[in-house]
């Protein structure tokens, strides 16, 4: 079972839900792995202590042009769909703009003179931590100034591919990084808050999940602030409300200190486990 925890709007409580669910399942001796896919701002490890057991870089292949072999024919420039090759044939100038390169390899295929080779450039890293009870956290982290976190996210998810229960803490938004994460999940938990911004972003996330045909349910965080529009919407659309977490300064305070409510107040561990059991019951594809 792969469960993605996601939200359109940032800061609604994805990490709160992902880390507490992970903790609650871990305490019941479930073999669970948490993958922090928010490679631009990975924070899951703020809440846990663990031993670093694996670390590797994720690379992208960037072309290197051998100017001695290059005939300045411009074919690689034409093949590049990202405008990453700059060429002035008359002046015999050719340059790879590395920031624009997506590593597709088209320029290499284009070149008839064997003038293009590639070099690996690190764009981020994957760290695997051993946490209590034989459970793990895999963290994707993107280097600053890198174009897209997607290859790093994919590498992190791949690292957990043989595990039975996987929680994917998704990046915010509804574009590529989000889609790449939720595409790998069996079920998506959308975390939102009962405000106009929260509702608008929730609708956008749901539109996206409908396109790729993923089952989902909603967690409302900070219930009590804001208004009731979101409840009307869920009712109207017949969307399952999985859990409500009230707005509570203590919960916010625990979170700010990197503490888990499931650890401090046992009823919360129960609530997260019940939510998990409900999802397994309804959507589970294995005997977990």
């Amino acid at each position: 079972m792969k469960l993605a925890i996601a939200s359109g709007k940032g800061g609604t409580g994805k990490t709160l839900v992902a880390t507490n669910l992970f903790y609650a399942l871990q305490q019941l001796n479930y073999q669970v792995v948490l993958v922090d896919c928010d490679a631009e701002a990975p924070n899951d490890m703020v809440f846990f202590k663990g031993e670093k057991i694996k670390y590797f870089y994720v690379h992208q292949e960037i072309p290197v042009i051998n100017e001695k072999k290059c005939k300045f024919c411009s074919k690689c420039h034409e093949y590049c769909n990202y405008n990453a090759i700059f060429i002035l044939p008359d002046l015999k100038v050719i340059k790879v703009i590395e920031d624009l390169c997506h590593g597709c390899g088209a320029c290499d295929v284009a070149c008839d003179f064997n003038a293009i080779s590639t070099k690996p450039v690190p764009i981020g890293s994957i760290t695997k931590y051993a946490i209590e009870n034989n459970t793990f956290i895999i963290e994707a982290s993107m280097n600053t100034g890198v174009f897209s976190p997607v290859p790093i996210i994919n590498a992190a998810i791949k690292e957990a591919k043989n595990e039975k229960i996987v929680i994917l803490d998704s990046p915010p938004g509804t574009s590529c990084p989000f889609i790449n994460t939720v595409a790998e999940a069996d079920f998506v938990v959308l975390v939102t808050e009962p405000t106009p911004f929260g509702l608008s972003d929730l609708k956008q996330s749901i539109d996206t999940l409908k396109i790729i045909d993923k089952p989902y349910g909603v967690v409302i965080n900070r219930s009590g602030i804001g208004d009731t529009e979101i409840y009307n919407y869920l009712k109207q659309e017949n969307i399952k409300l999985l859990l409500e977490i009230p707005f509570d300064k203590m919960i916010a305070f625990y979170y700010s200190n990197g503490e888990l409510i499931s650890q401090l107040e046992y009823q919360w561990a129960d609530k997260f486990v019940s939510m998990f059991n409900f999802i397994i019951d309804q959507y589970g594809n294995s005997n977990n």
């Binding site: 769909n81 088209a106 405000t195």
Partner: protein, 288 residues
Amino acid sequence: MEIAIISGKGGTGKSSISAAFATLSEKVVLADCDVDATNLYILFNPDVEGEEIYIGSQKAVIDYSKCINCGLCIEYCKFDAIYYSDQKINISSIHCDGCKLCSRICPNKAITMIDNDKSRMYYGSFRNGKMVYGKLAPGEENSGKLVNIVRDKAKKLAKENNINTIIIDGPPGIGCPVISTITGVDYVIIVTEPTLSGLKDLQRTLELTTKFNLNTVVIINKFDLNIKITEKIENFCEKLDIKIIGKLAFDPQVVAAMINCKSIIEWQPASDLSSQIKHIYNNLIYGQ
């Protein structure tokens, strides 16, 4: 003057602060560059005066009447987007990066590229001036290109209407759309919150703004949520010689304002929070 408001972590209060700033000046251009989860139009309900189609990327599509099942495209695709199933070649639109290489190498010209044309840029008038915002279609590339288009339009509108100040509400994270949001602005304001996650993301965001050599200042929002971590943030910024231009207390009225489609300045102009924001803004714009 262009002021970009960003934050590594989502949900720290970027949009609420942008909205407050936008309603403090007589005339302003407001650019919502959080194209992945655009929200400010909900508050300001602008009269849309125009829209432009944004084509961010392309997707590969197979014409099965031409496909001879040779599998060459699978070999060439660096994004693992092409696979064999049900005795035919399939292209996953989620994973396709739009590089066009498959289309170029297909021996039977069975693959064509189609434009992703669902994303839009809108512009118009709102009660404090002009507004521009982008809406990225679900699942599209989280591209900084749409951000650039929004910013270019904002600059144009500022010039045409003789407006001096452009307020830019940025996306979360540290990736491509954030880089596009902050490149070349006069001020970057990082809105952070006193949580360990917030501090960690602030560090990463500062790495980015330092790399781009930008004039960066910090606002600690909801600073009273955890005084100890607020102090940590203050010490951290002092060491790096980064100025903290304001500390704002948690105030549930910010959400109440949002529900009533108003900024906090419009909702409670005389409150402590509003006068504090006014003070910050005046310092920034008029330098005291």
